[in-house]
Symmetry: none
DNA sequence: ATTTAAACTGTCACTACCGACAGTTACGCG
DNA sequence: CGCGTAACTGTCGGTAGTGACAGTTTAAAT
C-alpha cells in the first residue's frame, strides 16, 4: 500500500496548510494521482452571467485560447452543473445530458485531450462558488474503477486546497499590501455590520461614542470608502470581518 | 481490506443519492465507521446571532437539553470555527485555542460523552453554512491514526449527504422560502453598498428620494435587520447583490 | 531615547437616515 | 372584476452618521 501511503501523506501536507501555490498543488496532485490536467476556478454568479475571480489550470495556453475564442464557456455543461450544485460532476455524464455541448468535447479531442474527468463543486462562504476539475488520461472502465477508489481523496484534497486559497487570498494584494485594519477597527466594523449604532457599539466595547467614530473613520479611510454601509460591504466581501 | 470495501460501498450509495434521511445516514455512518455520535447543523449567520435552519443529531434528548439549558452554544468553539471557515475543525484543537469553552467539554464528560472528534464545515450556495460533527469514542492516539486514514471518507460522505439535504428539502424558513427581494430592492441595496446616498441613488435610478427609502425599508424588513449597513452586510453575505 | 502606531476623548455644525403617517398607478391572474 | 404585488410619491420629526477642529496616553520598535 505504498500508493495509499503517498495519498495520506499528501493529504496531511494539504491539511497543514503547506500548499497555497496553485502550481505547487497541481504538481503534487499529478505526482500523487494518475491525473492528466487540473483546473481551479473561482467565480461569482451575477445574474445569469459569471464573473471569474480566479482561474488556474494546467491545460496550457493553446487550449485556453481555443476555449476562449470559441466561446466554449457558453455551452460548457461542467461549469453549469458544478457551479450550480454541490455534487461531483462526471464529465461523460454532463456530456450525455447536454447534447449542445459537443463542440466542447470535439475541441478537447482536437487538441489531444482526454474527455474523461470529474469536476468537484466547492461552495465558499459569501455565496461565491469554485470548482476543481480533474482530467484523466485513461479508458472509461479504468477511470470508473480509479474514480471509485479515489474520489474521496480528490474531494478532501479539493476542499483543503480551496480552504487554503480562501484563507490566503482573503485579502487580495490591494488590502494586505495597503493599510491593514487594526483590531479595534475590525471590531467596530463587525458590530456595525450587526446593525449596532455608535452608541450601542460604544456601550458594548466600553469606550466612548467618539472613539467608535474615530475607529470607523479610520476604517473608512483605509478602505477608501465614503460611508459605513460601503465599508461594511467591502469588509464582508474581502472577509475582513467574521461571518458569524 | 474488507473495511475499505465497506467504506467504498457506502460512499457509492451516498453518491447515487440513496440516502436522504438523516437518521438513515447516521446509521450508515455508524455502521461503517467507528463513530459514536453525529450532528448535522445548517444555519444562517444572522446579525450576531445564528439562525438554525436544520439540526439532526444522535446525542439524544438529554445531551441536547443540557446544551440548550446551559447556553453552551454561546461558548462552543466548534460552532464558531466550523461555521466561520472551510477547514476541518479538530475538537481538541478548538478546545485548546478557546480557554473559555471548558464548560462545554466538562458537560460532555459529565454525561459520558467523549471529547474527541472533528467537525467538517460545509458551505452551501447562497451563503448558508452547515457542518457535520463526528464524535468518536477512542483514545487520542487511536483517533489520530483513525482520523488520518478516514478524514477523506468523512469529508466525501459529509459533502454527499449535505448535497442530498440541499437538493431534498425545500428549505423551511430559509431565504428562498422567506420573502425574496424584488428587483428594485436589490438595485437600491447594490448602490447603497457602493456608498451612494439616497439622493444619489434616486438620481441614478431616476426616481424620487422617497421611493429609494421605500425600497430600502422593504429590504430591511425582509432581511429582518435594523439599518442599511446591516442590510448590506447581510445582502453581501448571502450573495443577494452582485460584487463590484 | 526617539519614533511610530494604536487606542483613546471632546465639541460643533451639518447631512443622512429612518419610522410612521397616508396615499396612487400599473400589471398579471383566477 | 376584484385581488395581490411591485413600483412609486409626499411630509414630519427624531435619531444617527460624518467631517473638521484639536488633542492625550500607552506600548512596542528602532
Amino acid at each position: 500500500m505504498t500508493e495509499q501511503q503517498a495519498v495520506l501523506d499528501m493529504l496531511e501536507i494539504l491539511e497543514c496548510g503547506g500548499c497555497v501555490e496553485p502550481a505547487h498543488f497541481f504538481t503534487l496532485m499529478r505526482r500523487t494521482f494518475r491525473i492528466a490536467h487540473l483546473l481551479y476556478l473561482e467565480a461569482e454568479p451575477y445574474a445569469d452571467e459569471l464573473k471569474i475571480c480566479r482561474l488556474h489550470h494546467t491545460f496550457g495556453a493553446y487550449a485556453a485560447e481555443i476555449y476562449r475564442s470559441r466561446n466554449l464557456h457558453r455551452i460548457d455543461p461542467i461549469l453549469k452543473l458544478a457551479l450550480g450544485g454541490v455534487r461531483p460532476v462526471e464529465w461523460t455524464m454532463a456530456r450525455h445530458r447536454f447534447p449542445d455541448c459537443e463542440p466542447l468535447f470535439e475541441a478537447a479531442q482536437e487538441i489531444g485531450l482526454s474527455t474523461e474527468g470529474v469536476a468537484l463543486p466547492l461552495p465558499s462562504p459569501a455565496g461565491r462558488m469554485a470548482l476543481l476539475a480533474l482530467n484523466v488520461n485513461m479508458s472509461a472502465d479504468e477511470w470508473t474503477a480509479y474514480r471509485r477508489q479515489h474520489l474521496r481523496d480528490f474531494q478532501l484534497a479539493a476542499n483543503l486546497f480551496h480552504a487554503a486559497m480562501l484563507e490566503h487570498a482573503a485579502m487580495p494584494g490591494a488590502f494586505s499590501a495597503r493599510e491593514r485594519l487594526t483590531g479595534r477597527e475590525t471590531e467596530v466594523l463587525t458590530w456595525a455590520a450587526a446593525g449596532k449604532s455608535y452608541w450601542e457599539i460604544a456601550t458594548i466595547l466600553g469606550i466612548s461614542e467618539r472613539t467608535v467614530r474615530f475607529f470607523m473613520t479610520n476604517a473608512r479611510r483605509k478602505l477608501n470608502v465614503v460611508s459605513n454601509t460601503q465599508a461594511v460591504a467591502q469588509a464582508v466581501r474581502h472577509a475582513l470581518i467574521p461571518t458569524v
